[in-house]
Symmetry: C2
Subunit: 271 residues, 2 copies
DNA sequence: CGCGAGCTTGATGCCGATCAATGCATGTGG
DNA sequence: CCACATGCATTGATCGGCATCAAGCTCGCG
């Protein structure tokens, strides 16, 4: 997805690079397992506040939120943040890094249900049962803010903006899922991949990254699982896009050469 | 078990037929537009209270809920309860009847995203934008309880059980959607249809209906849209199931002859 | 340097889409 | 009551997109 390192485009003011691909490690290189960050970054000064839970909150509400999000957690690439069956206690806001979520059935089939980047929330599935119903796996070294769920409920009883914002986030997830159903139910391979790329770049752009160049953080197989395709089909479709001059593909480095062309692919039922 | 489903508890005695296929029409046949029912049925005495928003609420909370749900609305078969772009104001709980929701893309593709029966909530998609992002269409003459959303937010600030229950319902919708993604992304036609039938019968059973006999309220085309298949494929698959002795199919009348056989189909990746 | 995970590319076959015709139920007007 | 229209379902024949199987290829890493 994003620039390999640095050259982070135009994030906000405030501390901390929101640049996925970079974690904040001051002095203490790779420390073991879960960590509570010694220096705190409040929601109120986080450069992700316009993408995350704090959207639209007033100053005083924001300060309340700061009290809620007390801990961070590092998740190394390949590790799971939570897995199916785990007791549900917290939601997680991605601070840096990149995740996938996937569900799996008894018989071993599995399906990637989403990819999450900075500012996006993980764990909403757990509310329904008090257990998580999917796995969340870091696709690169990542950092999340831990949001204890019972405290969030409590606080959102007091602050209506927070309550409303939280409901919007859940609803948005539902709407997003419906979009994926549309994709899986009625699009052909090229349309799916085009829609996927446009969605990724759009979200990256909202985070201040280039609209035309990205580094995929996931394998062809993971893309395929998300899109209901086999990895070979994903690979072939990338190659086809390249032949047609829509993309420049070098492994996981993608340059979008003709965004309008991709867009045309997405909204044209056939041909 | 990975069928996309709501696990719904025990059916219930009580007033009002929750029977899909039957609507309550006393005297006043097709009256114009929206109607406020002259006789009221409170949530606290509704026979759907174990399937709907009131689940788990204590007596006093329930009485509060009664004050919230003041109006009903009749929706005739074929009419829409709301459509994409409509301003969002209320959620709707299906009291009697049967609905489908569908999203559509610019280019006219469309996708059924769900079927809703008595006790299920409609309209959660609207929260994210203050506009609905899908159409809800009655597949038979239906009646819904209107739940003004701002009042629900207000009330759920006061009653934590209600708040929690509402969050669970939203989360359950997300989990259900993930199940559908799994189905669309990784199952073959027979598996999809089998999963669909098992899910339907389970939900009907939770409402006190037979586990083995059902009347489909939707066309082959609508089933196909939901399952990402063409109507001919749905029809052929029904015929195949009949040949194999799994079902007895007479148009929309379905008898399930071998539930275990269907179940086996669903959880066996291949062969 | 060699190993392995991930990616690309080719050859082949199958599942489900598509096109087309017929059947069946319901409803309407003559 | 029948003739006819309409909407939905079934069934057949054919076709095409994507899966599958099978090599190689690339690149990062111990």
């Amino acid at each position: 997805m994003l620039t390999p390192l640095h050259s982070a485009p135009t994030p906000d003011t405030g501390e901390a690079s929101g640049c996925p691909g970079q974690t904040i490690m001051r002095g203490m290189s790779t420390a073991p397992a879960i960590k509570i960050e010694p220096f705190k970054v409040a929601c109120s000064s986080c450069n992700l506040r316009e993408l995350c839970l704090p959207v639209g909150l007033s100053k005083p509400d924001l300060e309340q939120l700061d009290s809620l999000v007390a801990t961070r957690r590092q998740v190394a690439r390949g590790d799971t943040l939570f897995r199916t069956g785990d007791a549900f206690q917290s939601l997680y806001a991605v601070r840096t890094g990149f995740f996938k979520t996937c569900v799996s059935s008894e018989d071993g089939r599995d399906q990637v249900t989403g990819f999450q980047m900075a500012g996006e929330l993980l764990g909403l599935d757990g509310i329904s049962n008090d257990r998580h119903s999917c796995d969340a796996v870091a696709l690169e070294d990542s950092q999340v803010c831990v949001i204890p769920y019972d405290q969030l409920e409590e606080l959102s009883r007091e602050f209506t903006d927070l309550q409303h914002q939280f409901h919007k986030i859940m609803s948005r997830e539902i709407v997003r899922d419906h979009g994926v159903m549309l994709l899986l139910g009625s699009m052909r391979a090229e349309e799916r991949l085009a829609a996927f790329l446009l969605n990724l770049t759009q979200r990256l752009q909202a985070r201040g990254f280039s609209a035309s160049s990205l580094v995929l953080r996931m394998t062809r197989e993971e893309i395929g699982s998300y899109l209901g395709l086999k990895l070979e089909t994903v690979s072939r479709t990338f190659s086809k896009f390249q032949e047609e001059g829509l993309l420049d593909v070098k492994q996981r480095q993608i340059q979008i050469l003709d965004q309008a062309g991709l867009q045309r692919l997405v909204n044209s039922s056939n041909c």
